[in-house]
Amino acid sequence: MARKPVRHLVLDNEAAQALSSTRAGDTQRAVVVAAIVAANGRVVVPTAVRVEAGWRRRDHGAAKANRLVGDDVPLDRVDADRAVQLRRLVPAASVVDTTVAVAAERVAVDVAGAVVEVLTSDVADIFALAAHVQVRMDVVAL
């Protein structure tokens, strides 16, 4: 019998912004919502992504996004060191992209064989980072 698949989800900036969209027929928002439904592991947003996307959890308009993506992945001392390490390997990656890769490593640390989906519009840089992280990443274009 196949092992039950575990799929985590990490949102990048554009995905975080799309989730807050109130425009009818927003196809990017639909993709983000589908990814959240498909994830049966942790669904997180790195704190640096929230800053870039302007997602303040205490804002009234953030209630829905808060309920669908309740967990932040902060950048502590150890994670910052890891981000520096990854950025040296992929200099073209932005600071925020690097924190997305670090978050992917953090969320999947407890489950062997888990997949971490990263939903991003910056596929090239995240894909380059995925080659260096210690988890199986599925980079999905938004």
Partner: protein, 107 residues
């Protein structure tokens, strides 16, 4: 493991409340934006992406099973998204493994 019954109860309650809030958020979202409601087959296939699960190689079977379940449980995405996607994958795994199919007799 939790260190006490109280810790276990608190953790279970917190998880249940978070799940309830998530369900309510999905329900409100799909009421407002029905076009965002995903197809069950798409969710099941996305769940197995890069996992090596046998369903990933049998898209047409996933489509058929998901369509069958979706017709019977139209509100799956609000009330039981995780479980319903799991059911699809389990049924596909059974079909692909040949469970319930009588072997062809050899003369």
């Amino acid at each position: 493991m939790d260190e006490s019954f109280t810790a276990a109860a608190n953790r279970a309650l917190e998880e249940r409340i978070r799940e309830f809030a998530r369900q309510r958020a999905f329900a409100a979202h799909f009421d407002r934006f029905p076009e965002d409601r995903p197809r069950l087959a798409a969710v099941a296939l996305r769940r197995v992406g890069r996992t090596g699960h046998p369903a990933a190689g049998h898209v047409h079977v996933v489509e058929a099973v998901a369509e069958w379940i979706e017709a019977r449980e139209p509100d799956w995405v609000v009330h039981a998204a995780d479980e319903t996607a799991d059911h699809v994958l389990r049924y596909v795994e059974m079909i692909v493994a040949g469970v319930g199919i009588r072997p062809t007799s050899v003369a």
